[in-house]
């Protein structure tokens, strides 16, 4: 196996000042930092709440399916890969390939939400809701807020594919960056909420 360099995906070395050194639109990075700060604070809050009720949180976590969470991790990282492929295709001047990759990425977002719906249905069927207090209130808030971002991504990804030729690459980069942020939040949320007891 040989690994090619960054040229295949069009990533450039950037040296013209701190903000300009960020790939894509600066505004999406401001959004990414804001979202990561909000989720980071929520994750710390969750950790402190667990420290005050370790038995209650462990009992709540025992009712979750860690395998489903892992499956959703693989679904999201694959969707992120397809979004990154769409950006690379757009830079190569292959908009049809970019749109196809975006559609596949959005389809995987739907798969993520379907798995999440199965999980929620199981818990709600057992009488556990956002009003149940303790672990389950925080579980539904954190995963629900993240799922809303996934739903937003499912709309944003196909939407940027409809951009005109002149704006396609910029919009692809911005949409994909949003999607990778959703991915990044999940890779920390999953072990924190599902696995660490």
């Amino acid at each position: 196996m040989a690994i090619t360099d960054m040229e295949t995906t069009g990533i450039r070395e950037r040296t013209d000042g701190p903000p300009a050194a960020l790939p894509g639109n600066l505004m999406i990075w401001i959004l990414i930092v804001s979202e990561l700060a909000a989720f980071g604070a929520a994750f710390l809050g969750f950790s402190v709440a667990r420290a005050f009720d370790p038995a209650g949180f462990a009992a709540g976590q025992a009712g979750l399916d860690g395998t489903l969470g892992a499956v959703n991790t693989m679904v999201l990282v694959t969707s992120g890969y397809l979004a990154a492929r769409a950006v690379a295709a757009g830079r190569r001047g292959a908009p049809s390939q970019a749109r196809l990759a975006l559609a596949a990425a959005a389809l995987l977002a739907a798969v993520f939400l379907a798995v999440k719906a199965v999980e929620y249905a199981h818990l709600i069927g057992a009488g556990l809701t956002i009003d149940s207090g303790g672990f389950h209130t925080l579980y539904f808030l954190l995963t629900g807020f993240h799922a809303l971002h996934v739903a937003a991504g499912m709309v944003i990804l196909p939407l940027v594919g409809f951009s005109g030729r002149e704006t396609l690459v910029d919009n692809l980069e911005t949409g994909a960056a949003f999607w990778h942020m959703v991915d990044l939040v999940w890779v920390l949320l999953y072990p924190l909420v599902y696995l660490i007891r």
Binding site: M1, I3, G40, L44, A70, T73, H180, V187
Partner: protein, 101 residues
């Protein structure tokens, strides 16, 4: 067969996710509601930071901006470290029901 760095990142992310899943299943099998333990929590968080780093560098393309890559990866590691610190404090009884008022 040739793979570009992005595809290699995807493989790495799938592999790290599989390791996390194996750890989760092992924990469930050994479990009986037992705590993950500080070492286990550190391992799970380290896996999460490794996945996050791949996403930052190769999905979000910060590999081309080394200073930003260090800043974002450092922030992610700091958050994971803070989560681990709170977890360890809870395990040690410094905070929580067993903690001193």
């Amino acid at each position: 067969m040739r793979f570009d760095r992005l595809t290699l990142s995807w493989f790495l992310l799938l592999g790290l996710s599989a390791v996390t899943l194996l750890f989760a299943r092992h924990g469930a099998a050994a479990g009986a509601g037992g705590a993950t333990g500080i070492t286990g929590a550190a391992l799970l968080l380290a896996l999460a930071v490794a996945k996050g780093r791949e996403i930052l560098l190769h999905y979000l393309e910060l590999a081309g901006s080394p200073a930003w890559a260090r800043a974002f990866t450092g922030a992610l590691a700091a958050l994971a470290g803070a989560i681990l610190l709170v977890y360890a404090a809870g395990q040690a009884g410094w905070i929580g029901p067993g903690g001193t008022p």
